[in-house]
């Protein structure tokens, strides 16, 4: 099967410090992949490079065979923090922005997700808690019909109950052939929906395994992930 995302020999330095070194990664269509690693491992940076937000890297990144940044951006949906909007902006105004800027934005899908997340269209960003804001970000991201969804720690501020509901529903929201790359600290909670895990360690891809392969060795994803760091400490 042709790869949806291909990263070749990617190295990224900032402020004379190597953040990512010699990253090679292939993701196939239709997968849900966790991007794991410690704080500062470079997960967000990798997503920013894929989405064309980070610059001056060496190597190549292609999404659906497209290398040009404009094409890559057209194929992906990235959970943006919405910091480009004033705090007085209402949800309905943000939706209007998405509708105009993104051709693949589906307003009906957004309405369903908004109701699921219990968000009021008249609500302003300044009136929202961290969790509500993150729910909105997820709803906006999944209202686009993209090939690749980049979810950068999307659940960190959401309460446990809602988080569980969202995680269980994500598989229903994504188009069949789309791939999700999600970075998160709650490995155990997202484990059930994952097809693969990618771990960034020592500035590079330390491992890329299918969850099936991990479970074949009678290990949970969480145990496997924690085991990597326990072994290092010992």
């Amino acid at each position: 099967m042709e790869n949806l995302l291909e990263i070749r020999d990617l190295t990224y330095k900032k402020n004379l410090k190597t953040i990512l070194d010699n990253i090679n990664l292939n993701l196939q269509p239709g997968k849900i992949v966790a991007l794991l690693g410690e704080n500062g491992a470079g997960k967000t940076t990798l997503m920013r490079i894929i989405s064309g937000m980070a610059k001056n890297y060496h190597g190549t990144v292609t999404i659906s065979g497209e290398n040009a940044i404009a094409e890559r951006k057209a194929h992906l949906s990235f959970t943006d923090g919405l910091t480009g909007f004033a705090n007085s902006t209402k949800i309905k105004e943000i939706v209007k922005f998405y509708k105009i800027i993104y051709q693949d934005f589906d307003q009906n899908q957004f309405e369903q997700l908004r109701q699921f997340m219990k968000l009021d269209s008249e609500m302003r960003l300044s009136e929202m808690s961290k969790g509500m804001r993150e729910k909105l970000i997820i709803a906006l991201a999944f209202s686009r019909k993209a090939d690749l969804y980049l979810l950068d720690e999307p659940f960190s501020g959401i309460d446990a109950m809602a988080r569980k509901k969202i995680i269980n529903s994500i598989i229903l929201w994504k188009p069949e052939n789309s791939t999700i790359l999600v970075s998160d600290h709650f490995v155990n909670e997202i484990a059930s929906m994952l097809d693969e895990i990618v771990i960034i360690k020592d500035k590079t891809i330390y491992t890329h395994k299918s969850t099936e392969e991990i479970r074949e060795h009678h290990k949970s994803v969480e145990d496997y992930y924690e085991g990597l760091y326990d072994a290092e400490e010992e």
Binding site: K17, M53, A54, K73, G81, T83, G84, F85, Y102
Partner: protein, 279 residues
Amino acid sequence: MAEFSRLFNRLFKIKTKKLHVLLFFQIIAAFACAFFTYYEVINWHIHKNPQNNVGIIPEWALYFVILAFFVIFFVYFITPLQSEKFNRSQTWRLAAISDGQFYLDNVLSTFVSFIYFIVLEFVTVMILLFLSFLTDKSVINFFRDLLKSIQRNLNINVFWIILGTIVLAILSCFFLYFVISFFNFASRAILDFVPANINGAAVKVLHIFIIFGLIWFLFKIQNIFVNQVLLSVIHPSNYGLNFSSSLPFAILATAICDLILLGSNIFLINHFYEATEHK
């Protein structure tokens, strides 16, 4: 192209939203000035100022024009600074368009919103003048004399000078936008190569030093380029032209500087200037 125009419309709407509010306040402020010139308050009673022999509406128009000079200059300098926020914003830069095109969209929408604001100012002045015509005959006489004087002095040379000045003003407007972006993009790009162990306050000081360094660098380059390269090739005196005819030279020199800066900015935003999630 469709992405370009959709993004342009959105940016234009956002940029003009605040300009409408500014115009509204300008109209109110001009009216308040006119009111307190036309009337005076003595012992908490309002009386018509006996020294004032102009009507309140012509007074309003006059104050509006005076304020317009300040407001237009304010908008001229503030809008390019605001547009740099869009260049830095991840929310906006995620739009499916190349970074160079996004930059062009942002600059053009800033320029068009500025022109739109000038048009709004002009229309408001015209409305106030029309109202003045209806209420004050001395205004009609004043403008009749003014038109006659313009007609007497109007010739083809004046027309070309006016046209050339407008073109130069437009190019200078873009020059300001491009210079501000260049300082922003280049200084941020240089900061990305500063060692990571330098703390936040030192980075801010360094940022200022880099901007001053870039101003010095640009000034030197401009001196060499305009005075030694351009002037040696297309100096007006080489063609026997006097000072008033140096306008085409100024237009050409500004246009070339604009193109060089535009090219540099597109290169910087495509390859170095990163979008962030910070406000």
